[in-house]
């Protein structure tokens, strides 16, 4: 009995390791791959592996193994692996959201009706792959949907580096629209500079401004377009620090504030304010002249409430913030 249990834990351990390895592999293979999508790929690998092991183990004539022979077992393995993945980067919300969605998708499939466990697993794998594929395609869908919001001769303000925003702007530019982009510097990690470089490489006219310049520049801007780390249940977003400020400035100036976000970033969180965000520790980057008794608060992201957001461009379509909760409720109810 003891031996079996130990063995079980061991196998789960290897499964978790596999998940984490797959996750890192997926990320390093292609820098375009989002955290959530990498997690989805890793979890699909877990189901696959579990299946292979089942076949191999049967060959070895071992009676009882850790490999799931019931769907409950499969879900258990997946949950464990998802937790292991989240331990890799515990503060990443989109990773968490991606894992949750995957579990939800795989466990609520009609695979549950199939009697044969192998068929059911095959179906789960298929769904996993399909989910990964859908998620990979999401960015292009958003680019196509969102580029119609950009009009010619308009000025777009964006904050930090977002791959989906970049793709959207590329798409609009390649369809022949003339527009210019204002990018914030994105302190402290300077992601705005990355964005500016990439836009410049595409020959899109780009202007770089200080983060603190947002309100100053707002009256020259026609629309604000940002990405999101996560979209929360009430339709608000969690994004790089400074987004909230930009949204407030945009609201004050009556400029539309659009968000481009893939649907795998929809997270089951309901923050009521900035204090409700999952904590995140990161190295401090302040000047050397800091007085010894001064406190430093250095968050890396903030929460933008739904009333500041005009529309969310997602791969599910263009949604109002109110639509997000509708989508999440439909899935989880």
């Amino acid at each position: 009995m003891h031996v079996t249990e130990g063995f079980e834990a061991n196998t789960q351990g290897t499964l978790n390791e596999l998940a984490v390895r797959e996750f890192h592999d997926a990320l390093s293979r292609d820098e375009e791959v989002a955290f959530a999508v990498a997690a989805i790929m890793a979890l699909t690998a877990v189901i696959k592996r579990s299946r292979q092991a089942a076949a191999g183990v049967r060959g070895c004539m071992l009676r009882r193994t850790a490999d799931a022979t019931t769907l409950m077992g499969v879900s258990k393995e997946l949950e464990d692996a998802a937790q292991a993945l989240q331990r890799v980067n515990p503060t990443n919300i989109s990773l968490k959201a991606g894992c949750e969605l995957f579990l939800r998708y795989t466990t609520r499939t009609s695979a549950l009706e199939l009697k044969d466990i192998e068929t059911a697993k095959a179906r789960l794998i298929e769904r996993g792959l399909h989910f990964a594929e859908t998620s990979t395609r999401a960015r292009q869908t958003i680019a196509e949907l969102g580029s119609r919001f950009i009009r010619s001769n308009c000025t777009v303000l964006t904050h930090g580096y977002s791959r989906v925003v970049l793709r959207l702007l590329q798409q609009a530019f390649s369809s022949g629209l003339q527009f210019s982009v204002i990018v914030t510097e994105g302190r402290p990690d300077g992601t705005g500079i990355t964005m500016a470089k990439k836009l410049d490489a595409e020959n899109i006219p780009v202007t770089l401004v200080l983060d603190s310049c947002v309100a100053y520049i707002m009256d020259r801007v026609d629309m604000v377009l940002t990405g999101a780390d996560a979209v929360v249940e009430n339709g608000g977003i969690i994004n790089k620090l400074g987004t909230y400020g930009i949204a407030l400035a945009a609201q004050a100036a009556s400029k539309p504030f659009y968000v481009a976000a893939e649907s795998y970033k929809f997270a089951r969180l309901y923050p009521l304010g900035q204090a409700d965000l999952p904590e995140e520790r990161k190295p401090l980057d302040v000047g050397p002249m800091l007085p010894p008794r001064a406190n430093v608060i250095n968050p890396s992201r903030d929460y933008t409430p739904p009333q500041c957001i005009s529309l969310l461009v997602t791969d599910l379509g263009v949604l109002t913030p109110a639509a997000v909760s509708d989508e999440l409720i439909q899935l989880y109810l």
């Binding site: 009706e113 196509e144 022949g176 026609d222 379509g317």
Partner: protein, 536 residues
């Protein structure tokens, strides 16, 4: 084929009617559109749903472009397309059913009773028509793929069906009809004689898509719905108006009038009508309300803000509802909405759902405004006089300066316009030359002179793209620009409630209505199926 030509002619005739504005108003236009579409579905043969969809899209696009500002035309086309797509999906599901492990659960009943895990898992597929959503993101495509490959090898040619990973195209190949089923339905289609005779003639090959009958029935239902649309809105009058309230409205709207009349049967209340310049149809509205025994006050538009403090509710009609929940409404209503917001007065819009458009105000495909002649704003006498004066100026100018191309430009242009009452209309904009008030002219031309974007662009985040053509601007000083737009765009945050034929809805709910009534592939009628050619 002569018959085909005939239908083509009918469509063209209808387009001409739209173009000439012989049919006015969203409701008549919507009905006309449905009539034409029903004619096409009944009398033309299409072997698959895909072919039918293509045809409807083409015809629909033609009709919409004939009258781009009447969005109800496009909306009705999208509704019919949605009906066809649903029917095709239903058919596909029924074909997959025999091999399905739980036939009872998938019996096509849309109302799922159970709350168990199983039924929920099934729900995703049964509710596919909802369009892409988080809850069915994976069900689109893959289920069909699995059913065809593993469990239900009934489809002879998988190449016939669309690419499984392309969720939007999942209905394209719905036209496959098993011969046995087709024979079953032989007598059911007596109603459309043309179609059924053709079916009997060509028994070997599936000549006509069998779902047509249902589609025609649904279109008939839709027409029926349109007939009752005003009634379903106005009967809600009593629920929304309380005793002794003061209701503010602007201009004339049949729906609003009937709504108020209906409420007046049970309640006593006051109505303040803004006259709605430059149409002044508020006068008629006030008259009709007074005739109905409602205590009515008529005010000038400029008094709206002052009167707003006394109002309890603003009640207006609209021309179209856009995808973000904003509305296209008769000009002046943005101002009313703003003053209602300033006083925290609910701004309620009465609108039938045939006016629900899936386009966003930023969409380049959307042309939402129309410009009338300036005669409502400025008398032709004044214009004529001014025109005569300007002609003299022109002549003096031409005599003084050598006649080069620049100076010659306005000459002939103005001459042709003279017959039309002294104004030229270029691309929807009207220039009136009024040398006598040149002081005002410089003020007016400040914004609009050089650029092609009219001064109106300031009313919202929209490009008023009506100025497609050349924007004629006289080089001489003394021009007054007299644009008379018909519509305003009222952004969603100023709207408290829509009262539709299906009940009250908030602007933030509009996205949901869209997924209920239209397929995402049809949002752009001009474009190929979404995703296939995303580039503009």
């Amino acid at each position: 084929m002569s018959e085909k030509k005939e239908i083509d002619e009918i469509v063209e005739e209808c387009c001409t009617v739209f173009r000439r504005r012989q049919i006015e108003g969203s409701l008549p236009c919507a009905k006309k559109t449905l009539d034409i579409l029903r004619l096409i579905v009944t009398n033309k043969k299409h072997s698959t749903a895909g072919a039918l969809i293509d045809e409807i899209r083409n015809v629909g696009y033609r009709m919409q472009t004939a009258r781009p500002v009447e969005l109800a035309i496009g909306n009705m086309v999208r509704r019919v397309l949605h009906i066809v797509r649903e029917e095709a999906k239903q058919e596909e599901m029924e074909e997959a059913k025999p091999s399905f492990s739980q036939p009872s659960a998938s019996e096509g009943s849309r109302i799922q009773s159970g709350g168990g895990l199983l039924s929920q898992a099934l729900k995703g597929r049964l509710h596919l028509p909802r369009g892409p959503s988080l809850s069915n993101l994976l069900d689109v495509g893959i289920d069909q793929a699995i059913f065809t490959s593993q469990l239900a090898p009934i489809h002879e040619s998988p190449a016939d069906r669309p690419d499984p990973p392309q969720p939007s195209a999942s209905v394209g190949g719905g036209g496959f009809v098993p011969a046995a089923e087709r024979a079953d339905r032989g007598g059911a289609d007596e109603a459309e004689s043309l179609a059924s005779t053709r079916r009997q003639q060509g028994k070997k090959a599936p000549q006509n898509w069998k779902g047509k009958h249902e589609v025609i029935e649904s279109i008939n239902e839709l027409i029926d719905e349109l007939d009752h649309i005003q009634g379903s809105i106005t009967t809600q009058g009593v629920e929304h108006i309380h005793a002794n309230e003061v209701i503010l409205t602007m201009g004339m709207s049949d729906t609003t009038l009937l709504f108020l009349k209906e409420a007046a049967k049970k309640r006593e209340f006051q109505v303040v009508v803004a006259e709605g310049a430059p149409r002044f149809d508020g006068h008629l509205m006030a008259r009709k309300l007074a005739d109905a025994g409602i205590q009515t006050t008529l005010i000038a538009d400029s008094a709206v803000y002052a009167m707003m403090a006394r109002a309890n509710k603003v009640l207006v009609g609209a021309h179209a509802v856009l995808a973000n929940g904003g509305v296209v409404a008769p000009v002046g209503l943005h101002m009313v909405a703003l003053s209602a917001r300033r006083h925290s007065i609910p701004f309620v819009v009465l609108v039938g759902l045939h006016k629900l458009s899936p386009l966003f105000p930023t969409d380049p495909e959307l042309l939402y405004n129309e410009f009338k002649g300036p005669s409502d704003v400025i008398d032709f006498d004044v214009v004529g006089e001014a025109f005569a004066q300007q002609q003299q100026l022109h002549q003096a100018f031409a005599a003084a300066a050598p006649r080069d191309g620049d100076a010659a430009g306005p000459g002939p242009g103005s001459a042709t316009a003279a017959g039309g009452g002294g104004y030229t209309s270029a691309g929807g904009f009207i220039d009136v030359s009024l040398p006598s008030i040149s002081a005002a002219a410089t003020a007016a031309s400040g914004g609009g002179a050089g650029s092609s974007s009219p001064p109106l662009a300031a009313t919202g985040p929209l490009g008023l793209t009506a100025a497609g053509g050349a924007f004629r601007w006289d080089p001489l000083p003394g021009n007054v620009h007299v644009p008379t737009p018909l519509f305003d765009y009222v952004p969603p945050h100023l709207i408290s409630l829509f009262i539709t034929d299906m009940g009250g809805r908030t602007p933030s709910y509009v996205y949901r209505l869209l997924t209920e009534y239209y397929a995402r592939d049809d949002y752009f009628l001009s474009r190929e199926v979404f995703g296939k050619d995303g580039a503009r």
